[in-house]
Amino acid sequence: METGKIREERRLSGVSKDQRDVRQGDDGAPPGEAPTLGMKIEDLSAFYGSFKAVTDVSIDIRANKVTALIGPSGCGKSTFIRCLNRMHEVLPGAHAEGRVMLGDQDIYAKTSDPVNIRRRVGMVFQKPNPFSKSIYENVAWGARINGYKGDMDELVERSLKHAALWEEVKDRLKESGHGLSGGQQQRLCIARTLAVEPEVILMDEPASALDPVSTQKIEDTMEQLKQSYTVVIVTHNMQQAARISDYTGFFYIENMGDPGRLWEFDGTEKMFSNPERKETEDYVTGRFG
């Protein structure tokens, strides 16, 4: 039986027991498919110039699971996930410290190519941002510039099917992506991300600008995606986190001006039924602020 001290250490480090017990990538993958990689983050801190926005986050992102990150605005959730595919450093003066492992590769190692990392760890943003191209080209473009040599038609169809959009667009692939509804555009962006065959998909509030029906479709899509990918989602919609995620991390800033930190991390059922920390309880029950 684990002691209270071990439990406390695990909670603070953001690593739950079954995460330690299960090696990344060895469960959850559908039969016949190669297991997807998870991520292991150790002591990650993110800076904007000299300002430390996020501090000392350690967390295991399990393969083939959906991990939701929740927390009040400005607590570093989006900054944190942008560190997971080296998007954070794109901003002038921004940098990250710590270790982020994708499988057995340290993505911040000098030998790691940021462009390749961003292909392997794809990102979907809050606002759908399709290219001014056809639906087909929106999906094919990324794969083409990455030198994809396979059957492009098959790749486009497969990606659109994974994003649960194929049935709605299969007869108008040459039409502009901008002609789609907001929810369809967001699923097109997911298909575009999938087409470059990533292992991890990061989603930064992917449904916050969508109507309830489109939101539901995105959520259904995520349930499908985790069969083949590792998914990390930032959301302000706590019911959405409760519905779709397997694990939930709560980010929190203790005092104004402090950096955000991972305050509690556990299975979603635990986080939404009996969280360990009062601040988490206050946040998920809406008593925050």
Binding site: M238, N274, P275, V284, T285, R287, G289
Partner: protein
């Protein structure tokens, strides 16, 4: 405080629940007095409470359902609503059992009785009432330390259950009271034991409400139980 209206609705729900609990406590008090004094008049006051308690219980459960639908409660709020529904069920069932006992009292008021058995029954009724009242008090005050003692108090009810059942099964020669009364006594013994169990469960629900641990603990106790299938003590 954010969600002030929701909090007020939760407070109102607990208030309704405790009000129902106090009414059931009063019914149990009447039941004990009727048994102590062989008083059919007092027992008769409790006939019909079952329907009233069920209606109150349905009102509380409806309110729980509405709050779940409208407020999407999680964590402590979710545990509270779950616990309120569970405690409501225990209260209503205890009220039903109380009415059954009072019904038996009124129907056998003139029957010949076994004094030893009647003494055991009255003692059992007092103890079951006390366990029930304490369980409700533990819930009201969320006093989880006292909740752990409730089981020991319920053990006394279980001992009295065995004693009473032994007297029913083995009446003294020439004694034992009228058969219809003995038959009713056997049912009353069973009902009283259940009322005490409901009291333990009501108190135990406070543990789940406060810590979220009760269900897991109960499951572990169930898995770890040492059942004596042969009845030989091994």
């Amino acid at each position: 405080m954010p969600r002030e209206t929701f909090q007020q609705e939760l407070d109102g729900l607990i208030s309704d629940l405790l009000e129902l609990g106090e009414e059931v406590e009063a019914s149990l008090e009447n039941m004990v007095r009727a048994m102590e004094g062989r008083d059919a008049g007092i027992a008769r006051q409790e006939l019909g409470v079952d329907i009233r308690y069920k209606a109150r219980g349905m009102d509380i459960e409806r309110e729980c359902m509405i709050l779940q639908a409208r407020q999407a409660p999680v964590a402590g709020d979710l545990r509270l609503l779950y616990t309120v529904q569970s405690v409501t069920n225990h209260l209503v069932r205890s009220g039903t059992l109380c009415e059954h006992i009072c019904q038996a009292i009124t129907e056998t008021i003139d029957s010949e009785r076994d004094e030893d058995l009647e003494t055991a029954l009255v003692e059992m009724a007092r103890t079951a009432r006390n366990v029930f009242n304490e369980g409700l008090d533990v819930f009201k005050n969320r006093d989880i330390e006292r909740a752990r003692d409730l089981q020991a108090k319920d053990d006394k009810v279980d001992l009295l259950y065995s004693e009473a059942m032994n007297l029913i099964a083995n009446p003294s020669e020439g004694g034992g009271g009228a058969p219809e009364w003995r038959m009713r006594a056997a049912l009353m013994v069973h009902y009283l034991e259940r009322i005490s169990d409901h009291g333990v469960d009501i108190g135990g629900s406070a543990v789940f409400l406060v810590t979220g641990q009760r269900i897991e603990d109960a499951m572990q106790q169930y898995l770890d139980r040492n059942v004596d299938y042969d009845g030989d003590g091994t």
